[in-house]
């Protein structure tokens, strides 16, 4: 394919999911099979487009200098045009690759997760998770999972979600990026609240929406400031040397930051909301109320990655005026601090969680912290690398946990004891025999997350971050991240041990079952990437392995930046550190939890950690209560009802007085009696006297009109012509 045809193909990538959304909402709503066929076909088409684009990008020599880019005029803004366009450079090509794969896998997984092919539930309602259906077979009744009542709706929403993500990735400017960003925000609201019959789901949806909105407002301010400062929102126009230089030197007047720094921080706050970084991390664990494919979608493949992606996009802006090896500028310091803090902060909470999905949620927050910290340190490639490997193995883990929950629900339906929470890890145990595929894939995902040496993708990407931190002398960050990595391995092993190892702790776990191929196949595909994706980025100077496979990733993604980042010298310290933390964490996790059977035996169930440092309660007191008071008491009661209504009530009688005066002294005598009634009387009188002519007989009218014609015509003729 030529460069041009690939570029035009890029335009088409986001469209199929959007069309699928429209089709499902408008037409195929009633037909579940048709709906998921439409949605998956759309995801497949987008995947195909993404792969073609990616492949062509890889093939192109010096792709960083010749990206696929095109733009059209959109809005006239005075003398210039606001342009929209697409841009695939190495960064977005790499992101497109993992987005295409994970989105397609999640779509396929959803078919099984929502029990396609099962009977409709006995008493399922829209807005509530399915409760199972009673089936009679060989004369004896038993309960099987029932199909999701709003099956088509789910596919419509994730279709729209996929559209938002693809739009964000392929767009060449901040405005369309923001459009995709907001579409995803809307979809995450809709999907977290998918089971809107559950109050907890409703609240979680609102929480997610409101929290991310805070970040988005700052981001919009940042975009506006950027447009004000540069007159454009297109990346390639902003990231020119002159523009960056100007931005880096002009002071913004806030905290002594340069314009570039302020804009970067404003945009970064958007990311803090979207990627659930401290202090706006609170929405993400609650978002687990949505169906599991949604969790995977939001927390692995798309939305949170979008946040990191946006920061990576803005890297040149963030690092304007900084060069490799120099001390970090203030914006970078801020970013690095937030990232590192979040990484360790979330990891400590994850240790004390019992819900299988919540552990993963905090783990996600923590891992995103790694990436943010890496960006803050200027380790651009390491951040991208970890973003992609993390997307694969975290999607794998979420889908795997969904598979576990699904298998557990099967057991719950079998025993009929609905008091057992199928998501609580202490209700599980021994699932490796019941669900072998899930177990092995989950193990791969978990080891990748822990950074199990050499074979897993997570090791290579995390190692690169640590190496970067060490090499550039950011020792505080290095230590923080190392501790966080240790805890990551620890809670991951805790999770695996509690879930899969040992013996079944409940009857439900005994009756858990492996799931259908639609759920397990995506797991297998993703676990393949969770292992192999790390191998494309092995550092060249790594002992033994280095250089066997060329460090393609560094070459390729590094081409995004104008200045190719230098290759790090190999250092044994970070390698040993990561080996130690990964293996040590895993070992201790197994050691501590191999015999733990109930929450009471768990030494780490510290209330402070279990309750997430009381952040929710703190926000409740600091923000929500005052806000409610402000709106209900101050605005509504005092301002609105007291002050404004009072003024309005004064207006009422005054206007009434003026009105009645006009009515009595002008309207009634002058308008009504003289003009109104008088003219009516006159008309009536004329009509009464003229009405005998109106016989209703057409022929008489005709005769009359002809007579008039003759008279007038004759008069005119004789008077004027003669």
């Amino acid at each position: 394919m030529t460069h041009e045809s690939v570029t035009s193909l890029v335009w088409l990538i986001p469209l199929p999911p959007l069309l699928a959304f429209a089709l499902i909402v408008l037409f195929t709503n009633k037909n579940k099979a048709l709906s998921h066929t439409v949605a998956i076909s759309a995801a497949f088409l987008s995947w195909l487009g993404a792969m073609i684009v990616f492949w062509n990008a890889v093939k192109t020599e010096h792709f960083g200098e010749h990206p696929f880019a095109s733009a059209v005029n959109w809005l006239p803004t005075g003398e210039t045009w606001l342009k929209v366009g697409v841009l695939i450079d190495p960064l977005s090509a790499a992101v497109l690759f993992f987005v295409g794969w994970t989105v397609l896998m999640i779509f396929i997984y959803s078919v099984g997760y929502h029990n396609y092919g099962q009977p409709a539930g006995d008493h399922d309602h829209k807005g509530l998770p399915p409760h199972g259906a009673t089936v009679e077979e060989h004369g004896h009744k038993h309960v099987v999972p029932s199909i999701e009542p709003m099956y088509s709706r789910f596919f419509a929403f994730i279709g729209l979600f996929a559209f938002g993500m693809y739009t964000l990735v392929v767009s060449d400017n901040l405005l369309t990026l923001f459009v995709g960003w907001e579409i995803m925000g809307l979809c995450s609201y809709l999907l977290i609240g998918f089971w809107y019959g559950k109050p907890s789901a409703r609240n979680a949806a609102m929480k997610a929406f409101m929290t991310t909105r805070i970040g988005d407002v700052f981001m919009l301010i940042g975009i506006a400031f950027l447009y004000y400062a540069t007159g454009t929102l297109t990346y390639r126009e902003i990231f020119t040397e002159e523009t960056l230089h100007v931005l880096a030197t002009v002071p913004s007047g806030v905290f002594g930051l340069s314009a570039a720094g302020l804009i970067a921080i404003l945009l970064f706050i958007g990311t803090v909301g979207k990627s659930a970084q401290f202090p706006l991390h609170v929405w993400l664990p609650d978002a687990m109320e949505g169906p599991t494919p949604v969790s995977a979608m939001i927390h692995a493949a798309t939305m949170v990655s979008a946040g990191v992606y946006a920061v990576i996009r803005m890297f040149p802006l963030l690092t304007a005026g900084w060069h490799e090896g120099a001390p970090l500028n203030s914006a970078m310091t801020f970013v690095a601090f937030i990232g590192a803090f979040t990484a360790i902060f979330a990891a400590t909470i994850a240790v004390a969680q019992n819900d299988i999905k919540r552990v993963l949620a905090y783990s996600t927050i923590s891992q995103l912290g790694f990436m943010i910290a890496a960006i803050g340190m200027g380790a651009y490639i390491a951040a991208v690398f970890h973003l992609i490997t993390h997307a694969f193995f975290k999607a794998l883990l979420f889908l795997g946990s969904g598979s576990v929950i699904h298998g557990m629900e099967h057991g719950v339906l079998h025993t009929g004891n609905h008091n057992v929470d199928p998501q609580d890890m202490f209700n599980m145990g021994g699932l490796r025999k019941k669900m072998p595929i899930t177990f092995w894939t989950f193990l791969i995902g978990g080891f990748a997350l822990s950074g199990f040496p050499l074979v897993t993708a997570g090791f290579w990407s995390k190692d690169e971050i640590l190496a970067d931190a060490f090499a550039n002398g950011h020792l505080t960050i290095f230590i923080t991240l190392a501790v966080a990595a240790f805890m990551t391995a620890f809670y991951t092993m805790r999770q695996i041990t509690l879930t899969f190892l040992g013996e079944a702790r409940t009857k439900e776990a005994e009756h858990a079952q492996e799931n259908k191929w639609t759920m397990t196949a995506p797991l297998v595909v993703l676990s393949f990437f969770a292992v192999t994706y790390g191998w494309v980025g092995i550092p060249e100077h790594f002992p033994l392995l280095g250089g066997i496979i060329p460090n393609w990733f560094h070459e390729f993604v590094g081409g995004t930046l104008a200045e190719h980042p230098p290759v790090l010298e190999f250092n044994i310290v970070p390698l040993l550190t990561s080996l130690a933390v990964a293996l040590g964490g895993l070992f201790f996790g197994w050691l501590v939890y191999r015999n733990v059977n109930s929450p009471a035996e768990d030494k780490l169930q510290i209330p402070f950690l279990k309750n997430k440092y009381y952040f929710d309660e703190m926000y409740e007191v600091i923000f929500i209560k005052p806000a409610v008071w402000f709106s209900e008491v101050f605005v509504s009661k005092w301002m609105d009802k007291g002050f404004i209504d009072g003024i309005l009530h004064l207006f009422g009688p005054a206007t009434g007085g003026v009105g009645s005066a006009i009515r009595n002294y002008f309207d009634l005598p002058v308008i009504n009696q003289f003009l109104g009634d008088g003219s009516a009387d006159a008309t009536w009188w004329v009509g009464k006297n003229l009405r005998p002519i109106q016989t209703g007989r057409i022929q008489q009218y005709l005769v009359l009109s002809l007579v008039v014609l003759f008279v007038v015509g004759g008069l005119l003729y004789f008077l004027l012509l003669a």
């Binding site: 009405r691 005998p692 109106q694 016989t695 209703g696 007989r697 057409i698 022929q699 005709l702 005769v703 002809l706």
Partner: protein, 102 residues
């Protein structure tokens, strides 16, 4: 040869007769018959003006053709109205259709 005046007088007479029919006939259908006569008178005029004017312009014949179309339209709608009125009022006498009077 026949002078133009003969045709014009014929047309005028036909027009007058048609007008008479329109003005005096009681039956609505008969009134429409009168209208047809008037239209034919017009057509005779048009065609004869064509013949006695510049033959190559064809304007007279073209307008006569259009008058044909108009006549067909007028008759179809007119008769449809008459039939519709007959269904509702059970009469087609024009003098009795005087709901529009005072």
């Amino acid at each position: 040869m026949i002078p133009l005046s003969w045709y014009l007088i014929l047309a005028a007479a036909l027009f007058g007769i048609g007008l008479f029919g329109v003005l005096v006939r009681r039956n609505a259908v008969a009134i429409l018959l009168g209208v047809e006569l008037m239209l034919n008178a017009v057509n005779i005029n048009l065609v004869s003006f064509w013949r006695y004017g510049d033959v190559s312009t064809m304007a007279g014949q073209v307008f006569a053709i259009i008058v044909f179309a108009v006549a067909a339209a007028e008759v179809s709608v007119g008769l449809a109205l008459v039939i519709s009125v007959y269904r509702r009022r059970n009469t087609v006498v024009a003098d009795e259709l005087d709901l529009l009077k005072w």
